[in-house]
């Protein structure tokens, strides 16, 4: 195995990332630049940046491997990750931008006027962020191990280090350019190789991926889009749908991007472009899975399907061209780790900077930018240490659970907060606790044990289908029981969230 092209690819992505980050630094001057790029990012650039940030290792590497092993049922992941943006678009995109807040914690405080809700939201944002960062860092370790032969810890330290340098030096303004660049890099890194591979496949007579003899599942099970095809499979499929459709709006790194839009209308248009970009990207990974069924049976037999995207070009095209294509997909995978981790570092660091590192200690407090930098360091170092200490948790599984927690906590808070005046701080806290505890218990149980055959195990494996309704009902019922706690300025808040900016209206105190 020749490692030179992979090393060159990783080095080039690193240099390009740092160079674009430094170039963007020239524009970053104020705290507002660091946190939200001063709200001046147009829909197309912003949509590319959202796409770049959102397409993590789970999308770039995970899906192809899962499709190879388990077939069409795994395509619900990319479908759900895209449909989540449609739900976000129709329920929260414009109001979220118009709320005029930096983070989810800001939104909660502005809407409900309660410090306690704010603190609870901050805790949940940080926990979701860490749950999402942990598998990214571990995945980076595995990728560098399989492509470069580097030790496992190298990738898990290198990625956080580059992210930290970039984020701390340039903040949101420069990261926007980096993320936009990385979307197009990831798309190219999957598109060019798959064109070559499809030509090779047609040249081989185009053996049908379903009918080919495989050491994996039977052709029928591979084509059926339900896990196992029984009632448990039906439950798992629908629960995954609930988690991905509703969880996207509650992910910290997705939400923070909305504050960089100039206004509510732009926020909607940005989301529409994101739908196009994600749809374009997600056409590709399943094709790798299908070709893998024809050409990469050795990976199924040895259980190394996570590296399918990295190995397939070498398996199908021997010689220098295969090495070149391998270098390209390695570059894309590395970009995937970097961009998602950067987005999460900014989001979690922003929240920590406001609520933890920005607080006065013995009468002294850090300035806005210094607090943001300290917050980012904290946001990255903790999951980096966890990645080194904990055994491998699996990218797709951990990311799926992060979606379930986000759907069970922030989705009810955002949807009810935006569309229902009756929400009270007490109701919000009750709902967040019920949804967070339910899905959180499922996370701990799932990461600690292996999935079993019983219904109890199935319900805990994919908690969203019961934890999301429970959170919604609790929030609604407790709010109804405490009508005296409805914030007094709810009218102003509703005006701010829903009326177009060009109409001059009293929108209450703006938080900028």
């Amino acid at each position: 195995m020749n490692q030179a092209p992979g090393i060159v690819a990783v080095a080039l992505v690193t240099i390009a990332t740092l160079a674009i980050g430094t170039w963007g630094l020239r524009f970053s001057r104020t705290t507002s630049d660091f946190l939200v790029a001063s709200r001046t990012v147009g829909p197309r650039l912003n949509a590319s940046a959202i796409g770049g940030e959102y397409l993590s290792a789970a999308s770039f590497l995970g899906i192809a491997g899962l499709v190879l092993v388990r077939g069409t049922e795994m395509m619900w992941y990319p479908v759900g990750w895209t449909a989540g943006y449609l739900v976000l678009l129709v329920l929260v995109a414009a109001p979220l931008r118009r709320s005029g807040a930096y983070t989810l914690s800001d939104f909660a405080e502005a809407r409900l006027g309660s410090r306690r809700v704010r603190v609870l939201c901050t805790v949940i944002v940080v926990l979701i962020g860490w749950l999402y960062l942990l598998p990214q860092f571990q995945g980076a370790g595995i990728t560098l191990q399989s492509t470069l032969g580097a030790p496992r810890w190298a990738g898990a330290v290198l990625v956080p280090l580059i992210v930290l340098i970039n984020v701390v030096s340039g903040g949101m303004r420069s990261i926007t350019f980096v993320q936009a660049f990385q979307y197009w890099l990831k798309l190219t890194a999957l598109l060019l190789p798959i064109i070559v591979l499809l030509i090779v496949w047609v040249g081989d007579g185009g053996p049908h991926p379903v009918d080919v003899a495989s050491s994996g599942v039977s052709p029928r099970a591979w084509a059926l889009p339900l896990a196992g095809g029984d009632a448990q499979g039906l439950y798992l499929t629908y629960s995954l749908m609930v988690a991905t459709f509703l969880g996207t709006m509650g992910l910290p790194h997705v939400v923070v991007r909305y504050y960089t839009n100039p206004d509510g209308r732009a926020a909607r248009r940005t989301t529409l472009v994101v739908l196009v970009l994600l749809g374009l990207f997600y056409l590709l990974p399943p094709l790798y899975g299908a070709l893998g069924r024809v050409y990469a049976d050795t990976l199924v037999a040895s259980g190394r399907t996570d590296v399918l995207v990295l190995e397939l070009p070498r398996l199908m095209v021997p010689g220098p061209l295969g090495e070149l294509l391998t270098a390209l997909v390695t570059a894309g995978a590395f970009a995937a780790f970097l961009s998602t981790s950067s987005g999460l570092a900014i989001a979690v660091g922003g929240v920590l900077g406001q609520d933890v590192t920005g607080r006065p200690v013995r009468g002294r407090r850090l300035s806005g930018i210094a607090a943001f930098r300290a917050g980012c360091a904290l946001a990255v170092i903790v999951p980096c240490l966890l990645a080194l200490l904990l055994p491998d948790v699996g990218v797709a599984r951990a990311v799926g659970l992060a979606f379930a927690v986000a759907a069970s906590t922030f989705c009810p808070l955002l949807v009810l907060g935006i569309w229902w005046r009756g929400l009270t701080p007490v109701g919000a806290i009750a709902g967040l606790v019920v949804g967070g505890a339910g899905s959180g218990a499922a996370v701990i149980w799932t990461l600690g044990t292996l999935p079993g055959p019983g219904w109890a195990s199935v319900l805990l494996q994919q908690p969203a289908a019961w934890s999301v309704p429970a959170a919604f009902l609790t929030m609604w019922a407790v709010s109804l029981a405490t009508p005296s706690k409805v914030p007094r300025d709810v009218h102003r808040t509703m005006v701010r969230l829903h009326t177009p900016e060009q109409v001059t209206l009293e929108r209450g105190p703006r938080r900028v």
Partner: protein, 127 residues
């Protein structure tokens, strides 16, 4: 001596009654939280929520129905169109344009509602 009689012109003096309300745009009703202003805001919210609900319904019927359909009729996964299994064609390709179309229609109607709202509340009511 003129052949034509000039058309009759009605001459009236300025109204002596004081104007009841000063001229002001309707949006002030929203700032003052009057019942009329409340009505404007509620109708905006209801209209926007209706667009959202319709889009979510399209999502539910178009994509949310697929698992139950394949659960009830697993034979459908053996159907091939253009050489590809039907589930693959649906989940791998067809869903993405569908999502974009639903999103595009939503953005159009939401923007139209906002433009109508702006027209409505910027109207200046003269007594």
């Amino acid at each position: 001596m003129s052949e034509r009689t000039p058309p009759r012109v009605r001459v009236s003096g300025p109204s002596r009654r004081p104007t009841l309300r000063p001229a002001r745009p309707r949006r002030r009703q929203i700032d003052d939280e009057t019942r009329l202003g409340e009505l404007y805001l509620r109708s905006l919210l209801r209209e926007q929520l209706r667009h959202s609900a319709l889009s979510l319904l399209a999502l539910l019927l178009g994509i949310g129905s697929l698992p139950i359909v394949f659960y009830l009729a697993p034979g459908l996964s053996d159907v091939r169109l253009l050489g590809m299994p039907l589930p693959w064609l649906l989940l791998g390709f067809a869903v993405y344009p569908f999502l974009v179309v639903v999103g595009w229609r939503y953005v159009r109607s939401a923007e139209r509602t906002e433009a109508d709202f702006a027209d409505l509340v910027e109207t200046v009511d003269r007594p």
